[in-house]
Symmetry: D2
């Protein structure tokens, strides 16, 4: 059960609510986020709502039968929009497009990408500076200095930055330079990291694990929300199956089911989701048709020269076409 508390609730009124819950032999957990105050009442089925429903300081009470609570779509009637500024928001009725290289390489590359994104009126640039790599001998990214350089180019132009955080230690270091933290597939169940991201006030995009279930992704989001951060974006990026024709099997079904089960915005990553350049456009369009709030796409001025993920990276022309079609499909389906 989720009890929404008024922002004006007094300490005294709160105590009254606590007592009332305890009298019914229930446990509660208080959650304060940037946006609201909640009491979670856990582990009881027969709780009598009428006994607390009229207490002062309570805004609303919702029964949520799912095991995840705060991210469930059962209590929030409107989908959540993540607002970054006047011009940039996610899940607010426009198609969100995030694009950029797999790895941040240097000034020239950043600048070329930024200028191209501006032409297409895209306001969020993706890029990796800490790269999770299967092999310890692979390139691990430009690091915090790369991020600072990137930020110095984007910030004056109002281009927002999304980048992956791999480790609790990096959260503070990245904070001034990043607008959205991305949790990668391999850290999708790094619970300490998720806990820590619950304590900051910037949006977090959580990618589904390599073989993460829908429920596990929602639980991971619940970690962040219950830690105090409501600004969560879910991302489908392909799962592992027996099929070897693509690097990952983009799971289109995840999009409508996440939209159904949760109030959080859902972004599709067709680049990692397939690992094949020619599949990026059709899967991006499919995702939008299936109800995704946006797409995140790997692009590079010269994909064949990209430091990483060249085989799934679009060039600017390909991406421009994808973008136009995706917006048309979005308007058709959402309209």
């Amino acid at each position: 059960m989720i009890i929404q508390l008024s922002k004006q609730i007094t300490e005294e009124q709160k105590q009254l609510v606590f007592t009332s819950i305890e009298e019914q032999n229930c446990k509660w957990r208080e959650i304060d986020t940037q946006l609201g105050s909640y009491l979670l009442v856990l582990g009881k089925i027969g709780f009598d709502i009428r006994l607390i429903g009229n207490l002062p300081g309570i805004t609303d009470i919702h029964r949520v039968t799912d095991d995840y609570k705060l991210v469930s779509g059962k209590w929030k009637t409107h989908p959540t929009a993540i607002v970054l500024d006047d011009q940039v928001s996610i899940g607010a009725g426009d198609l969100t497009v995030m694009a950029g290289p797999c790895s941040i390489e240097g000034e020239e590359q950043i600048l070329a990408t930024v200028e191209f994104l501006e032409k297409l009126n895209i306001r969020i640039m993706r890029g990796g500076v800490f790269k999770p790599r299967s092999s310890p001998y692979s390139y691990r990214g430009a690091g915090i200095d790369g991020l600072k350089l990137w930020h110095s180019i984007c910030a004056p132009r109002g281009i927002r930055i999304i980048s992956e955080v791999m480790e609790m230690d990096q959260i503070d270091a990245m904070y001034p330079y990043v607008d959205i933290y991305q949790v990668g597939a391999r850290n999708s169940q790094n619970f300490n990291l998720l806990d820590a991201l619950g304590r900051i006030d910037k949006p977090v995009m959580i990618k589904r694990g390599l073989s993460g279930t829908i429920d596990e992704l929602l639980y991971s989001a619940e970690y962040v929300f219950s830690g105090g951060n409501e600004k969560i974006i879910l991302c489908e990026r392909g799962i592992r199956t027996y099929e070897k024709a693509y690097r990952n099997t983009f799971d289109i079904n995840a999009i409508p089911i996440l939209k159904e089960k949760s109030h959080l915005p859902v972004i599709a990553d067709p680049s990692h989701g397939t690992g094949i350049r020619s599949l990026v456009e059709p899967i991006a369009l499919a995702s939008v048709a299936a109800g995704a709030d946006g797409v995140i796409v790997e692009i590079h001025r010269t994909p064949e020269k990209a430091t990483s993920d060249a085989q799934q990276t679009l060039d600017f022309d390909e991406f421009g076409r994808l973008c136009a079609k995706a917006r048309a499909v979005y308007n058709l389906v959402a309209g």
Copy 2:
């Protein structure tokens, strides 16, 4: 290597071609379909095309590096359209919609469905009369009598019938009453059945196996084509993965990759592909956005009363809306 032969080729000219191939120590296999004559040259890499290219009776020669040959997209520049009649064709530039109940139940049900399909200008009705069931104690379908009844209602109205064949014996029995044979997921690698379907002249729609690979589906199609039947439709219907949130995981990636690897039309089955009613529409739209030539959907006047598959069956209103949106997406993406 595929050698296309002229229909006017004489027996003498043919012998000359055979000899020429054998002189290069290659084996050939002659394939005659409803539409053409082909020689497959197998198992040789260094074949010198110039030595036979100018022989009389040869229309064209194509190198195909895939292991499947005749169904490969490498030799046929235009996608194949399956033409049933003036009004009904598949893969010819219009969205194909097939719809109907999981199981054929009786006259009233058939009639209601047919009349509804006619209103939506849908010309192909699906339905099962031989039902593959995991348990021997489940209902196994209305059988050949059900098919006859169904045909007696559809034929006068020009509504075409697609229905599953489970066994070689049924091919002849079904022949007068069916317009498209469907090979189900469980028979996707029933090679004797595929061989036998290669010897008839009606279209065959092959569903991908429960955990069939893209290559296996194309090989199964190659069985039918090399048996003499070019009229083949491929169908994605969901695969088995670890995810339990849906009955099957509809593999959207299969659609663009099958279109890329093969010249055959591709149909999406979002009903079996997900097993969840609320997912049928978004996955149908996604499939069309990803390039599918059509969709096949389970519908029922009163889904909750359907003999089988009730939980994934749309009612007529839901399907009407899906249909309108799917056509709009098709026109947008294909246009």
Copy 3:
């Protein structure tokens, strides 16, 4: 519910039982096998056993809560043994070993294998004459003539033959020459074939499907049993997973769980189960340690010259060592 009928039950007594069941609004299905007579009462939970328990002609009554009934371990207290002759039985307290080439090639190969098996006191030889192949252009086996030749060599020596049947038509043709019919992974849910095998009196070994579930395998066995044939062997042969280090992922867990859920003997196929020669011995030993009643192994005098499956085939020496160890592990674990 399973009602075991006495072999001496009269027609009159039977009618009494039927009437009694129908009076409780239940449906029954009569099943006569080589070994017994059963009435299955389906689809009723609240059936009152006392009302029929004392009727003449009833030997025993068992409630079985599984959806599969006759193959369930819930009603049969002793594991089933499949007895071929005085010396050859499966599941009767000795380790069963079946071995032979992937494909039957010719007299010399058969003879060499038979003589080797005799030295190891192995009484069942495996081999394929009808080969299910993904590609229509692959070798499809020596056919019925190959089987006849093979039988002519084995029969005088008392070596029993297990071979795959792919199609209903082949059942009768193979009958005089085969001792155990094998249903391959791709036909594991070919229900018409399973039905037909229920009507014969020779043992049937059913392989688990490429991505068949435990329940589906048991349901497939239920098809054969309810068709009238109790002589069923289950076979684990590896499943499809994301892992590419082996051709299939041998599912060791299937062995103890099948032994727990069913009374049927379970054979392990480590050759197809892994597809890697060096893994055949450890997986064979593991299977025996996990409770398998036997193993079926691909062997060839000169594996590198085998017509098919060379990469997973053991030579005679390797197999001899495997055999000795497997018997020692069996005696240790079963003892």
Copy 4:
């Protein structure tokens, strides 16, 4: 390529080696572990070994074609043993058994377990104090205080402790109280954690990811080794598949293939590997038969009262029987 350096190598000699490598346009990476000094030469195929083979200070040179190098079995002819003390070593020719509860609960529980382990002559106790849980609302373990209590009971008796580390921060805090760090399945690709564990001198057991590949597990081990810690144990604990009959699908194939590809010891976890109590013994025996160096098993005095994982936990009697059988199988197979 791996160049083993003498411990007596002088700085001058080292420089000579570096120069020689660079002259061939190769990059090198120096790795110092508790046990040895290595130079990895990466990314070159045509390196001429003769040019450096005779340089002073070089003990041995090995070409390793795998992408992982130091953990590969291609350069180390003898399997690695992890020696904890005179009595406790892993991979040294005796079956290693680790056992204990899922979660450390309190003094009484610890003491009962320790005394039981001593009776069976088992020297390594497992237990969780930091628990990775899908839901943020589940119990997360007794924490560092639980570990201290546990250690205070085990240390005087010479019982060694293996416990999971979830986060870089915990490494130092746990250090005085833990003998083997366990990296859980969800952190199997937490590369920062693996890097950090490479900098300590206690053994690390790495569990395969939920859907980790064999190669990924070896790469994760390579992170630890190349970080400076050679004491690595690999652990198979079940993977995700479509099969729902067990919680995970224990992948028996991983055991022989890891032993083949790597020189590191391999431990089987049949408890998490199956999630089903009745399967723990057969899968443990199977693992030993397949070549595992040991098993790790969840046990509890009263499994039904365990804080977590009750459904897969053995009681003491069951485990005693398992242990005796596992040792017999080990002696048979290894002997």
